[in-house]
């Protein structure tokens, strides 16, 4: 790499996925994150029940991300050769786990009403 600036990286990712798909993926990631922040602010509390489901989904997200990357790159676990490879694989797993957790938490929350509303309904 000659100059690894953010602009170069964005240009490379645009080429990798195609500009439309790349920015759509960025938009989806931003929307899910925004949705997560929205429900956090709206509810002023984290629902531990939903968080439990989110946590339970994490290993599946991690494994799915790793399997996807290995299949997409014609490689297997046996090809991991040095520490940096394990770090990259761990990074992929963490991204998969974190992404899935946020997605599961947010979708549960957005699909149902806020716990405050539920509590109020219960009080009525």
């Amino acid at each position: 790499m000659k100059d690894l600036t953010l602009e170069t990286l964005v240009a490379v990712f645009e080429e990798l996925y195609g500009a439309t798909l790349f920015w759509s993926l960025v938009a989806v990631a931003a929307l899910v994150t925004a949705g997560y922040l929205y429900v956090l602010i709206r509810d002023r509390a984290m629902s531990m029940r939903r968080f439990l489901w989110a946590q339970l989904s994490m290993p599946f997200g991690a494994i799915a991300a790793v399997l996807f990357v290995l299949a997409f790159t014609h490689s297997g676990l046996g090809d991991l050769g040095g520490p940096i490879d394990w770090i990259v694989l761990l990074g992929v797993a963490l991204l998969g786990a974190g992404g899935t957790a946020i997605l599961v938490y947010t979708s549960q929350t957005l699909l149902r009403a806020s716990p405050v509303v539920i509590r109020r309904r219960g009080a009525l």
Binding site: E7, A11, T73, H74, G81, D85, L89
Partner: protein, 438 residues
Amino acid sequence: MDWKHDSLASRRMILGLAAGAVATASLGRSAMAQRIKTKARIVIIGAGAAGTAIANRLALRLEDATITVIDGRRNHVYQPGLSLVAAGLRPAAYVVSRTTDWLLPGVTLIEEPALAIDPVAKTVATAGRNTLPYDYLIVAPGLVLDHEAIEGFSLDLVGSNGIGALYAGPEYAARTWAAASRFAEKGGVGVFTRPATEMKCAGAPLKHTFLIDDIASRAVGAGRYKITYAASADSLFSVPIVSEKVRMLFDERGIKASYNHVLKAVDPGRRIATFTTPTGDKELNYDYLHVIPPQRAPGVIRQSGLSWAEKWKDQGWVEVDQATLRHRRFPEVFALGDVAGVPKGKTAASVKWQVPVVEDHLTAAIQGREGTQTFNGYTSCPLMTRVGRAMLVEFDYKSNLAPSFPGVIAPLEELWISWLMKEVALRATYNAMLRGKA
């Protein structure tokens, strides 16, 4: 309630990071925005990796300049992908795009081959009888594969008769895989060659050897096939430390190295390859033969008087200063990419490092000053050793290793991350370079 403060704090941090990122990106853009006004006529011969990248860089840097690219080929080939096509990992279409897809609006393309260069009159004549005067000329036509130099060989043989030739282009790389995959399934004797001339990506003959060995070991299985790598010189690679590492890997994998073997003739009927060796001609039987012919500068360059007179007499590379890529006798002429008469560096990675240097010296000349950037011979070769692993080999003119990620990606280690770079990230980086963005 602590988590809430934390989440707010981290939100602020994220917003801060995002703002920082945007600021960095816009800084990069404003640096590019200082355009130079000039009426200079710049002619670029060749719309390959080097020609396209420099044309687009100049179109971004210069205002009112006339930038003309001359190339008769309608297709642009992403040549670093040919090794992947020849190992069945990508279809031929993966490496093919249209020349016109890449050039920015400020660049004029003449879709004809260049026929003659007159560096004294400063003109280029094209096959369509156009004569273009220039103030600056960049020669980047690539090189030609001299298939005729190998007796008995012709390109129609590729794909059948157990013959492969991946350098010859996308279709031939796909046909190479047809022949190589038959070998990987049936076994037998595989012979892999490289020419004695300078060549583009000297790692590619090794990559093909390693990949087909790996694929055969998984298909027909060990013991059912043998591989010989015929090195043209007394080493496996021009950089001694890399050559030694490859020798060790060959030993480990049971690949036989035959030194000082230069392919001279092929008898496809009897499946015999003849090599010139210091002790006379030697014949080797093969079930699969990978042919890479001698490589030379195109005729238009060799007839123009731009080539080195005392070096590479049979090859005709352009006589340029190896640090500035500027012609040693005609200062308004530069050479980029494969055709440049410099040691090593016939790779797209070298092009990526060469382009900013020529851009610097050319724009400096337009402004009446001297450029400051130099090219140190950097080249890079993600040397694939298995399907799933590669060594990221980077070096310079002095055969010093020049790792981009020291301490993170070890240069002579077979790693998955280096494979990921080659298989996934490289074409994207290459495309960004073509657009003048990287």
